[in-house]
Symmetry: C2
Subunit: 231 residues, 2 copies
DNA sequence: CATCTGTCTATACACTTGTATATTATTATC
DNA sequence: GATAATAATATACAAGTGTATAGACAGATG
């Protein structure tokens, strides 16, 4: 049931770089293919009309140029491969958004900067985002948990930002955790639908996202100041 | 008051044209199975771990008790069956929310009433909601378009409600269409994740949804009154 | 009655899938 | 060079898939 956060599963380091470990003597044939190669092969196969959970083991092996059975040297399942994919996608996106946040603190709007970076990345690094955005609802439990975990990372970081942002404006935030959750889920849901749209409309979607996020931020601040709200 | 598709007890008319029994004389053998029966069979197969797009034609035929080839008498594809399923799910949910809205106007909070009805239905009529909530991201274009269409129905109805609600409180709404879109997507995204949680936690999720929706409503009203907002 | 027509079934084909088993290839150490 | 260990392959199998083709059934029409 372990999600296996990194490639750490069952202490089998097949990576070719593993021989760099001094004392450890790797016996046997040198691995000609790595976990990363398989992940990359899977990545080449996913797309707007191809979900990770619909990939077959043989298909990935074919794309990677190995025999079907060799797959088992690196992953037990397609599920395990899928989780590795999610990890990579999550790491990538978190890095990107981190940069956006950093860029934002030196000037422009945090909201606009983050949303625009998100949408840029949607175009540039399509595949990874695809996986994270739209495949959290299908697939195995492990799969879903892995996506859920990535989302909660975003929520945590965003919550901290929301509080800091409010303090900078001398105001407060009502239920920052909930506000962060709402923003995260909303952005991801909007991003998922945006991926089916032509590039020209991405800017338009980004503007919609910005307004939506501002509604939530203004709402949570207003509630914090004026107390609860009429039904 | 059952939301379920009234799984056609037995072969009534099957013709999609619903030619009824007027002057048109149906030649040949009487259909022993109907489109609705096939839809019902597919519905029995979907679940938390089984997406519609992963169902096979043979599987549905087996569940319905017909030969695989008989499937083609009713649908061209599994895709076409999937779209019929979405239509049914959308109709069902719209009816339910309509009732919630009606119930709300005679007293309690529209937000609370709608959200709670939504979550109740999530438990009661799981299968149909599953389909609508989580399968909009995978599957064919036709599939995705069908889900998108259902969502836009909700958005339209919600937008009207938002404006009316604001008028009743002597205030205004900033970009009601966007606010409606944000609320819809958010509720659906939250609902999708809620389905993987045990029933006991549904009430908790419902409370979170209510707060989130209020944030958006308060936000859009505040922006409408105080104009735009600092970055 | 026979005939026609649409519904359903049976059989079959070519294909893909996951995986079990056995074999070969390549490397590091002795 | 021999040996041991490991990576990768080849072959095979049972199961599942979509669908083409042809025939069997049942009921209204002539």
């Amino acid at each position: 049931m372990s999600i296996s956060p990194t490639t750490g599963l069952s202490g089998s380091m097949k990576a070719p770089s593993a021989s760099s470990a001094s004392t450890v003597t790797a016996l046997g044939r040198r691995a000609v293919i790595s976990r990363e190669d398989l992940v990359a092969a899977a990545l080449k196969l996913v797309g707007p009309h191809r979900s990770v959970s619909s990939l077959s083991l043989r298909e990935v092996a074919r794309e990677a140029g190995i025999a079907p059975n060799s797959f088992y040297r690196h992953f037990r399942d397609m599920d395990e491969l899928a989780i590795a994919l999610i990890d990579q996608a999550g790491r990538s996106l978190r890095t990107i958004i981190g940069e956006a946040r950093h860029r934002a603190t030196e000037g422009r709007s945090v909201v606009r900067s983050s949303v625009e970076t998100f949408m840029e990345q949607l175009s540039a690094d399509e595949k990874l985002l695809h996986i994270l955005l739209r495949e959290g609802n299908v697939g195995s439990d492990a799969f879903k948990l892995a996506v859920e975990r990535e989302l909660s990372f975003f929520e945590d970081e965003l919550r901290v930002d929301l509080v800091r942002l409010a303090q900078a404006h001398d105001t407060a935030v009502h239920e920052p955790a909930l506000a962060a959750k709402a923003i995260t889920r909303l952005i991801f849901a909007m991003g998922a639908t945006a991926m089916d749209l032509p590039r020209e409309r991405h800017a338009e979607i980004a503007e919609q996202m910005i307004v939506m996020v501002r509604m939530i931020i203004v709402g949570t601040q207003t509630i914090a100041v004026h107390g609860t709200v009429p039904d």
